[in-house]
Amino acid sequence: MSAVAATFFDGRSSRAQAVQLSVAGDFVLTIRAADWERSESLASVRVTPRVAGIHRTLVLPDGSQLQVEDNDAVDAWFPDHNRGAAWVDRLERHSLAVAASLLVTVLGIVGVIFYGIPYAAEKIATHIPDSVAREMGQQTVTLLGRFGFDKSELPKKRRDELQAVFKKYVADLPDPAHYELHFLDAKMPNAFALPGGIIVVTDEMVRLVATAPANKSNAAVTNDADGGVTVHFKTQDAATKGSGNAEDENDSEDDEDGDDADDAGNVVDHAKADGKDDAATVDGKITKDESQGSDVVTDQAANERFLAVIAHEVGHEEHRHVLRSVLQNSAVVLASAYFTGDVSSASALVVSVPTFLLNNHYSRAFEEDADTYAFASLAAHHISPGRFAEVLELMQKADPHVRREAGYLSTHPLSVDRIMSARAAAARFGSNETR
């Protein structure tokens, strides 16, 4: 058998010695240097696995090492060694296997992102005890005080009214006692659900839902019927108007006003009588009554818009979205740390960009779910999902930059899309209600 060149290190000094290796039929490795020769049983030698074209190292029982460049010779000597590693090495050398790995990686990552993580998060979230979730929610409420959230400055009367509206709404849910409503004062209109059924609505949001959409150029589409009143349609709104079912929606408003007349007990008759410009006239009247312009207003439309907000947040809680997103975001952080942990040369940007995009993807999906829930729930309470569109439009109007910046809409789907789907739901709702 022909000899194979190797470098011998005795493990005691750094001297490198050129040697020749050969293996006899009886599994004995013979090492020949210029001035010495020794033999080892192959079984007593530890061999490093084959990795690309790098040298192999044979570790002899006394700690001395042989570095061998001839990978094939080493494989022939140790056919049963490191079978797993040998298999991986073959994968690395086959272009087809490399392509398959690429496919597995891409599919694996996509599968984990779009199915694995959301599925696991949902399963785990449903098993988190309510007490834990509630403690988490309470903790957040406490923390909010430090982030610019103050005690509500709404009149107690208005808060009690809205609490009553809220109670009546959640009474139909599987577990009404699970929910509680908090009002807090922040600097922007906002509402969110915290784990444990705590729903927070800011004063600004309460004021916002009480403003009349018809007075706002962009928000005017809230009721197609008041098209006559408002002239400042934007093109996209006009499109919505065209596709929406104006008659049906307006009918539904009327129906539902009639049904729930006692709910808010205010100026409903007026709205019913004057279906032409429901929101505009109603709100206008109220605004006048309550003096301070856009301040606290009690009316049917405002309460319905308030409930639209509530329904969306209840949707988050019914689907356990907060817990799930906490779990999902944690999983994303962990997965990126685990899989790219060795990419020390790449900057943090490399990990932070996909993490950010992913978390946005998840929260958008949740927003869509909560919207869908809200549309169905509102319809079940005989409220048009159009109310939800009104809230979104009011928010957009209140701060046109909100879409781009941090805040309620930052991780939400595009408002335009959400308004469109709310309108579509309103149209379906309208035709169902009339039937």
Binding site: A16, V98, V104, F339
Partner: protein, 378 residues
């Protein structure tokens, strides 16, 4: 026949500009060739060399990634060993490759521990502040110990020419310089930071041995302070520049030119911080390498900030644009550049290094896997 180094290691005799070993280190055995006293020749220069290539490593990387996904992360320990072996073996000095001989199981164990700690910490941070604080304290108390275990593990399985590196454990020092020292942060308003960095570097380097020789770190804290002060000066200069142009930008927003000015400023800010960060990294890297020595041997690192900037920039860009597929390319490029800028200065004969005495080795358990062996991947 494999290349060996008997020829290019012939220059001998200690040189004056190699820092002496620290006083408390055991005296290294006198190199065999110290007998030649006459004129002091300059030390022999052995440039580091990196032979890995992007294509080859991409294959290793993608197969590892696929197997890691298919095995729910278990393979990552094996993947780590293959990756390290590839990088070590392709890094050569004096025509001899480095050697990584760790087994995957302790790495898997270390990763599971790190993963568990990280998972519980991240979850606790969302669920309960009390639990999070408790975990933070626990991780804080554990981390110096984990650092020492990891360094011991990594050093023990790193070798060159059949001789092992070794990290001499010093838990007291680790707790002092990786935990207690942070208590001084508030007292010094953070001005202790360069000192901390210097202390940690010194600790890490001086507790390493190669064969029978100790590493010595001769950089001083003031040299670290100089670098950090220059970096802070650059940050302040950046702020002043922004303060100067801020009125222009705000008026731009008011006059309808929109947010372009603001975005431009943000872009400049990121670029500025990037430049400062890379400057800092390159200077600390050079300073650290250039002051690391063993008796008879020293290193010379000449990494340039602008090269590093170009590398980081295109690596990041490439990785982002390729959705991560160029990560192996970036890793190889970085390893190649760093090797190309590193030179081993040998005043002693490279063939005369010796392993630690036999008794010492077994007492350390260099060849026995310890129950607490792990590599948490620092």
């Amino acid at each position: 026949m494999t290349e060996t180094t008997a020829t290019d290691a012939s220059e001998t005799a200690p040189s004056a500009d190699v820092p002496a070993p620290s006083a408390d280190a055991p005296a290294p055995p006198p190199p065999a060739s110290e007998a030649a006293p006459d004129p002091v020749p300059p030390p022999a220069e052995h440039p580091f060399e990196f032979r890995g290539n992007e294509r080859e490593y991409f294959r290793i990387w993608i197969v590892n990634l696929a197997l890691t996904i298919v095995t729910f992360g278990i393979w990552s320990a094996w993947a780590k060993v293959r990756t390290e072996r590839y990088f070590y073996a392709n890094t050569r000095v004096a025509a001899t490759p480095f050697e990584y001989l760790a087994r995957p199981l302790p790495i898997l164990k270390g990763r599971l521990i790190a993963f568990t700690l990280l998972t519980s910490y991240i979850l606790a941070s969302r669920f309960s502040i009390k639990l999070q604080l408790a975990l933070l304290v626990m991780i804080g108390l554990l981390s110096p110990w984990l650092i020492v275990r990891t360094l011991m593990f990594r050093a023990r399985y790193s070798s060159w020419r059949g001789l092992n590196f070794r990290f001499v454990p010093d838990y007291g020092g680790a707790y002092k310089y990786f935990l207690l020292i942070y208590l001084l942060f508030p007292l010094t308003l953070g001005f202790i930071f360069p000192y901390v960095k210097w202390r940690q570097k010194k600790f890490l380097i001086e507790h390493h041995r190669f064969g029978r020789r100790d590493f010595d770190f001769s950089a001083t804290a003031s040299e670290f302070y100089v670098i950090y002060f220059i970096a802070i000066g650059m940050v302040i200069a950046l702020w002043i520049a922004f303060a100067a142009i801020l009125p222009m930008i705000t008026s731009g927003i008011q006059h309808g030119s929109g947010m372009t000015g603001l975005y431009a400023m943000l872009a400049v800010a990121y670029a500025g911080y990037f430049v400062i960060f890379v400057y800092l990294a390159s200077r600390v890297l050079n300073l650290s390498y250039n002051h690391t020595a063993m008796s008879g041997f020293a290193l010379r690192s000449t990494v340039r900030a602008r090269d590093l900037m170009r590398l980081y920039f295109f690596n990041t860009l490439g990785i982002l644009l390729s959705l991560g597929m160029l990560i192996p390319w970036a890793m190889i490029r970085m390893a190649r550049y760093r090797a190309s800028r590193l030179v081993l200065l040998a005043s002693d004969d490279l063939d005369t290094l010796e392993a630690e005495a036999q008794g010492e080795v077994s007492a350390v358990g260099a060849e026995i896997d310890h129950a607490f062996d792990m590599d948490i991947g620092l």
